[in-house]
Structure formats: structure tokens, C-alpha cells
């Protein structure tokens, strides 16, 4: 085990451009093991891009980024560190991105077998435990298209957890779900947070954010405008932009 006081993510003066668009501006961010960080902000503010930099799905142009002591360099010039980071960082996507040609169990066992080199027996056993944990043990042999959205997202969560990640990234995990299915996914995430998983969550579920977050980060046009514990950020936001954003989203 690493020294737990050492940050698992260290981001300093990170800048990211899409062509001429400056999407992330001088981002400084540290995440401590066990911490649950919720990222909020308007659509297009750079939330997805920010967390996708952490597992190298987006490359950045300047700044420093270290994940679990592996340094990711600008322009994606660090493929070995990248590979290590991706085996240690799990991600859940808005659109689930399950593999439609594989059964639920095969979705979950693929990476442990191919990346970690586990035997099929071990991988299946672990997968079944995870499915039980997210409450869908009976769906193991089905194909993703035969599951509800909420079930699919829980499979996606189990699939990411199967790699035994040290950090989990969530990019609007409930935004594509019908309202009645949001609860079951949030419950699974809540459990995970309780168990001490380090999580970075992009979400518009403010109630959930207030409940599980250790820290909320508000991002506006690619800049971290304000951050703090949920009570502080939600109840007494300091910046006008945070206030107007919260006024807009909390109305609904």
C-alpha cells in the first residue's frame, strides 16, 4: 500500500485545447485516496474533458499530471504510464458503453483475463461476486441489449470494478437513464463510496452530490471557479457564477 496521505491524482497547471478552443485552463487539482470528489458545471464547461485527461482518453498540451505516481506527459507521450494508469483507474460512461456482442459475464471478465491474466474460473467467480454486489446476479448470461438502462449501467460499474481499480471516474452515469432507474445506480455508487473507493464523479444529481461528496468542484468555461465541502459550496457559494449556476439547476 502506498502512503495514504499522498494524493492519487496530482494535476498542476493543466491546459487542454481542442484546436483553437481552450477547453481546460490552468487546472490545479489533487485527489486524496478515499476521497469522493463531485465535479459540477454547465454543459460544455469541460467536466468530461477534465476526467478523461485523468485516464488519458484525452491528451493535454501542457501542465503536470500524475496518477498513482505514474506521470502522464503532454501530447500522450507516455504510453507505458498510460497503460498502468488505465489498469488502475476505472471509468463509467454516460452511455454505458457495454460490449453488445458479449454476455454480461463476458463483459466483466474480458479485461481481468486479457489484461491481468486471470484464469477464466477466477474471473467468472469475481464477476459473479460483483454482480451480486450491484444487485443483478441473475442477469449474468444475458446480453446487454436485454437489460434495462439501470441494469446496464450497474453492469458497466461491475465491469470497471472487476479490474480492482484504485480510482473510479464517473461521467454523468445517470444522465442517460429514465428517472425511475437513477436511484438504483446512485445506490450502487453510494455503497462504493461507503466502502472507501476514491471517486471522481461528474453529475447533475445535486442531492446525491451533497450526500456523498467530500468535496465539490465547480467548473466554468474550463476553469475551476470554486471548490469546497458540499455544505459550503451549495449553501454559501462565494462566486457569483457558482450562485447563478446553482440557482438554475436547483430550481428543477
Amino acid at each position: 500500500m502506498n502512503n495514504t496521505t499522498q494524493p492519487i491524482v496530482r494535476m498542476q497547471q493543466l491546459n487542454k485545447h481542442f484546436g483553437s478552443l481552450h477547453v481546460l485552463k490552468h487546472i490545479d487539482m489533487q485527489i486524496t485516496p478515499g476521497e469522493v470528489v463531485v465535479v459540477i458545471g454547465a454543459s460544455g464547461s469541460g467536466k468530461s474533458t477534465l476526467i478523461r485527461c485523468i485516464n488519458g482518453l484525452e491528451e493535454f498540451q501542457s501542465g503536470f499530471l500524475e496518477v498513482d505516481s505514474n506521470e502522464l506527459r503532454p501530447y500522450g507521450k507516455s504510453s507505458e504510464a498510460l497503460q498502468t494508469i488505465r489498469t488502475e483507474v476505472g471509468m463509467v460512461f454516460q452511455q454505458f458503453n457495454l460490449f453488445p456482442h458479449l454476455s454480461v459475464i463476458d463483459n466483466i471478465t474480458l479485461a481481468p483475463m486479457k489484461v491481468r491474466g486471470w484464469s477464466r474460473t477466477d474471473a467468472v467467480e469475481a464477476a459473479k461476486r460483483l454482480l451480486e454486489r450491484v444487485g443483478i446476479a441473475d442477469q449474468a448470461d444475458k446480453y446487454p441489449s436485454h437489460l434495462s438502462g439501470g441494469q446496464q449501467q450497474r453492469v458497466a460499474l461491475a465491469r470497471a470494478l472487476a479490474m480492482e481499480p484504485r480510482l473510479m471516474l464517473f461521467d454523468e452515469p445517470t444522465s442517460a437513464l429514465d428517472p425511475e432507474m437513477i436511484g438504483e445506480v446512485l445506490d450502487a455508487m453510494r455503497e462504493l463510496a461507503k466502502e472507501g473507493m476514491t471517486m471522481v464523479i461528474v453529475t447533475h444529481e445535486m442531492g446525491f452530490a451533497r450526500e456523498v461528496a467530500d468535496r465539490v468542484v465547480f467548473i466554468h468555461q474550463g476553469e475551476i471557479t470554486e471548490e469546497g465541502p458540499p455544505e459550503k459550496l451549495f449553501d454559501t457559494p462565494q462566486h457569483e457564477r457558482t450562485q447563478s449556476f446553482l440557482a438554475r439547476v436547483l430550481k428543477h
Partner: protein
Amino acid sequence: MEVNFQFDWLAAFESIPHLLPGIPWTLLISFGGLAIGFFIGIFFGLLRISPLRWLRWPAIFYVEVFRGTPILVQVLFIFYGLPQILGGPINALVAGIAAIAVNSGAYISEIVRGSVQSIERGQGEASLSLGLSRTQAFRYVIWPQAFRRMIPPLGNQAIISIKDTSLFSVIGVGELVRQGQIYIATTFTALEVYFMVALMYLAITWTLSIVLRQLELRGLAGQ
């Protein structure tokens, strides 16, 4: 003008045993050519989507050349032209298979490219986020899905290539049309014989269509 003809059913029926020997040749040329064309197609189709420009370029060139010239010219070039370079004759069967291979290969590489590119971005991203390498992501996630989507257009290409082999009567390979021509030369029953030749092509292509439909119904092809 008075139309005065009689369709001689007996002549049509009698031509069958003389045409049947053409079927194995037609099948051999088309499926032999398609099998090679499939590998050519995978090769150039994947080059075509490579991130490296100098790999893409030969693939684009290949497709443009063989899609942009008639297959009849291609087979004539191979059968009559190449021997001048090689210094020896080329077997007509080999020339026919080669023509189908290079021609279908060009179309199949476009099929391969299109199918691979049609797989949602999120599939590759999910794979990478799980720690799979790019190669593993391609092999276990992208390719199996792309392959299913390839089956319907590949079937379509197979039907086109089967019909294309009819042109190879010009190089004297004994496929269906050639057998018909030889038979007609002695019986002068062009109407009946070409009618039967057409039926035989239909029998082949229809069978193929049915097989493909079954694959799609069983969910092994398409989405």
C-alpha cells in the same frame, strides 16, 4: 413486325447436362477469388484507417485503381497482358480467380473500413479505460462487432462477383456462360440455353441470399 418464335422447352431441358459442368468453374472462380479478396480487403481496409498517412495512401490508391477500372479490362490485362511481363502464359482459371480477387478486394476493403468505422467511439474508449491495449481492444471488441456488420455487404459483394465471372468466358475459362456458348455453337438454341444459364445463376445467387438471410435472422450478422 410479327413476332414469331417458339420457346423449345425440350431444347432447354436437354441443355442442362451440358451446362452443369460450368457450375463448379463458376463457383471455384467466384469463391476462390472472394476468399483471396477477403484477405486483400481486410489488409487494405485496415491500412485505410491507419493513423499513419503513408500507410493509408497505398490503400487509397489500390481501391481507386481497382474500383475505377472495369473488371473485364482487369481480367484481359491479367490473362493477355501479364504474360508479356512474366514471359509465360497464365492459366485462365488462375487469371479469373486473380481478377475476382483484386476486384472484390477493392470493394471489400471499403466494406471493412466502413464497418470498423461504424463502431461507436465509446466501445474503444471503454476498452482502453479497462486497460486493454489498442490491439486487444481491436481484436476482442471492435473487430467482432465490425465483422457482424460486414456480413450483409459481403454477401452483396459475393453476388456481384459471382455474376462478374460470366465475363470470363472471353478468356475461355469453362464457366457457365462459356459452356452455354459452346453448346449453342452446335444446336443454335440461344434463347433456351441462355435462359437456362440465367436460371443457374439465379439458383446460385438465391441460395446465397437465403443463407445470408438466415445468418441475419439468427443475429449472427448485421447490428
